[in-house]
Symmetry: C2
Subunit: 474 residues, 2 copies
């Protein structure tokens, strides 16, 4: 028999319990307060960039096998045609659209990142918000304010429970993502601080997702699940459902049960740059994030010194010893393994292969004899004192006797938002091209550019739904 059992507790409590202003309530109050007209210009631009990047990865991921399975499941379950399923040519209930689109956009693992919570923000925020906005006819400005509310809440919770939550085995995109989605959807539904706290409470008891699932279809499923569950939490809170208003910090609440670290004061402190969205990192290489700094450094040297294959005598990549279990496959035997190989991706960068392109990671390309010969000249040196997976230094000895060095930190966000915008547009066109026409590409870019002014999101949703299936890459 089991100790400490309280199997029977009558569930329906008229009031909503918990202290007036614990961490959960404080975060709810901040989340509910966001207004589009108060967003700084750079914040608005960053939201638009997140949305543009999300569309790119979602369009490209829409025809992955896992996405098709989830879309078939949604079709079988049915639902009112409230929200577009991207690239599948049908609409379904908000919650199912959030599930499918969330998984689709994380399928390629090419979506944006925020280190404050060790996870992927846009894939848990945009899908439920887009679905809800489409269903309710919300404006672009309302969508944007809700996105920021969700984004900042998500990162603040991340700051409170990091690094223990992630290192203990929880996939923060899934778990903390549920809170972010709940806060975002609560904002779009116009909930006040008290109801937003209830939504966060429901999210706290729905939040799930194991890091040990990496390498299976469950990783992208996590993003969809977080968005759909966060949406449910907000919808139920709007209907008067009850939960604890101190669910994060309560005794045996979310923080206490999901990892060793909890510093509520860290969640209430502003980040150095004022807001977490300013720390958003986009991915420009379709490989593991741990390879990005080395790719950037190698590409920089190659371009600056106009290096060709025959100029390169040997290459040393200095990286964190944390890379060893993450992205240090010395002799990748497949395109998939190439994405987790510092040696191989650095060789690709020097050879001038487009590391942003999904097709660059084919098995055939990985097995290319010239590329393999170049790879043989790359050595990886790992350093225990370097604790950042996002940092690397590449040293190239040329056949002419020169020693070229370049460091890069892929954890530092781009300060030049115009340059970032241009780079994201290139990524967008590259990823969208196989699935939509150049005209639709232009229209999508234009619509996102005018997001603040859109009275509703139906034109955007219409273009995303209307992707002709026969144009799919698969």
């Amino acid at each position: 028999m089991i100790a400490n059992i309280s199997l029977s507790r009558t569930p329906v409590v008229a009031g909503r319990i918990g202290p007036a202003q614990g961490l959960t309530a404080a975060l709810a109050e901040r989340a509910a307060a966001w207004r589009h007209e108060e967003l700084a210009a750079d914040m608005r631009e960053l939201v638009r960039q997140c949305v543009l990047d999300w569309i790119a990865v979602c369009l490209a991921g829409a025809h992955e096998p896992l996405t098709r399975m989830l879309a078939e499941e949604a079709r079988e379950q049915g639902g009112h045609a409230q929200a577009t399923v991207v690239g599948q040519g049908f609409a379904t209930s908000c919650r199912q659209a959030a599930l499918v689109n969330g998984a689709a956009s994380h399928a390629l693992d090419f979506d944006d990142v925020n280190m404050s919570f060790s996870g992927h923000p846009s894939v848990v925020l945009v899908p439920p918000l887009l679905a809800l906005a489409e269903a309710r006819g919300a404006s672009g400005a309302e969508f944007m304010a809700a996105f920021v509310a969700g984004y900042e809440t998500l990162c603040r919770i991340g700051a409170a429970v990091s690094p223990g939550h992630y290192t203990a085995g929880f996939h923060a995109t899934a778990t903390l993502g549920t809170f972010g989605a709940a806060a975002a959807c609560a904002h779009l539904l116009g909930l006040g601080a008290a109801d937003t706290a209830v939504a966060l409470g429901i999210a706290a008891t729905e939040a799930a997702g194991l890091k040990s699932m990496f390498g299976t279809m469950c990783k992208p499923l996590h993003a969809g699940k977080a968005g759909a569950d966060g949406l449910l939490a907000a919808q139920l809170a709007a209907r008067g459902f009850t939960s604890r208003a101190d669910a994060i910090e309560a005794s045996q609440g979310f923080a206490a049960t999901h990892g060793p670290d909890f510093r509520p004061e860290a969640a209430l402190r502003d980040p150095d740059c004022g807001l977490y969205l300013r720390q958003n990192l986009f991915k420009y290489h379709a490989a593991c994030y741990g390879t990005h700094a080395a790719i950037e450094a190698a590409r920089c040297l190659t371009e600056r010194h106009e290096l060709r294959d025959e100029d390169v005598m040997r290459v040393v990549v200095h990286a964190s010893s944390m890379s060893d279990s993450v992205c240090n496959i010395a002799e990748p035997r497949s395109g998939l393994e190439a994405k987790f190989s510092l040696r191989h991706t650095v060789a690709m960068a020097i050879a001038g292969i487009d590391t942003a392109k999904l097709t660059s990671y084919s098995d055939a390309q990985t097995d290319d004899p010239d590329l393999k010969r170049l790879r043989e000249r790359v050595r990886v040196e790992l350093h225990g004192e370097c604790s950042e997976l996002t940092q690397a230094e590449v040293v190239i000895k040329t056949t002419h006797g020169a020693t070229l060095r370049q460091r890069h930190d892929a954890g530092v966000p781009e300060r030049d938002l115009c340059a970032q915008r241009a780079r994201l547009e290139r990524k967008f066109r590259s990823m969208a091209a196989p699935v939509v026409s150049a005209e639709v590409c232009d229209e999508l870019i234009d619509l996102v550019d005018r997001l603040d002014e859109l009275p509703d999101l139906s034109p955007l949703a219409g273009l995303l739904a209307g992707v002709p299936l026969d144009a799919a890459r698969h």
Copy 2:
């Protein structure tokens, strides 16, 4: 910046990973092997009793506010009319029906219990199975075999992770319930052992639910969520989705991340009575399970000695000190608090008040002066050496100088299944009477009695859907 980050891992792996026969795979193999024709007669009777009891609590819970909110949400989302929403007069998608019916049946916390996993089995198993069986035209026999597959899997996982999982703060009905529902639904879908292991893997990464939510609407939501998520896991596994095949025992898998205890050998050992379903406990008093032994003992003495109020000089209730934080409210001020009061419920039993009836726990009844005077004569003595919340001894000193003693252990299942059946039928009629006619009551009892022979469950579902809303208690 956060240590140990592996943000980018390509998710789509063609194969399914994990060892051939770890705990998860072993449980999947056992789950997939159940056949109705191999079920012993007592097991079949127990399944029918679980279903009958589930219908009773679901009908009674169908009109609770939380159920109505979830039903409204399901209506708003829409879905193919695949499965009946009990007592709401409509059908929706399987997953939504499982969610609403699961929450409805746990709303009153009057549903069955199994101590092996410190939770409520039928409310997580019947709703998704009933929905799936209705949608697919499965037979009663198929439903029953799937129920046993889910039940035994759920309890075996409970044996492996208890007591630490529950005491650490996880609501096992929610978390482990997701595995049970996944195994049950996988069985109904006819999945083999390998696909069942995938379903358990998906369940492992969906499983969530905090015990700190007790006292809010989230507690019953947990039951619905476990059923709906388990159903999703099985459906996705059937479509070829991938997950780990060792999700429970893996490094940073479910067990390692959800509590301090993990004894896989306990999950593979048979319980003393051969099967866990034989340990199923039904609730006959609409109060906290911790009060049940004392109620039973007091009722036994009162009936045997034909005691009236004026015969009782004083009463001592000996119970576990664990009761103190669970069900030892000395002076309950509401009907809700009365359910968590050993003193009050024992006074009710002596006064001959029906402790099975929901209406016996009204605020007015709790404030009744005669009952309060009787309660004044009841003293509770807690004992640290008694570790069982399910055990109590009641000692009554009569005004005639006699000392009457009775012990009871509410953790011991009834061996006489005929007696149990009769008692459950009384409970069923008492709970169903306010919402369905006597004829429908009889029909439902008859249908459950013939469950093994039913070619499909549509007659049962039809009666459950057809409850006239205007007859609802609220």
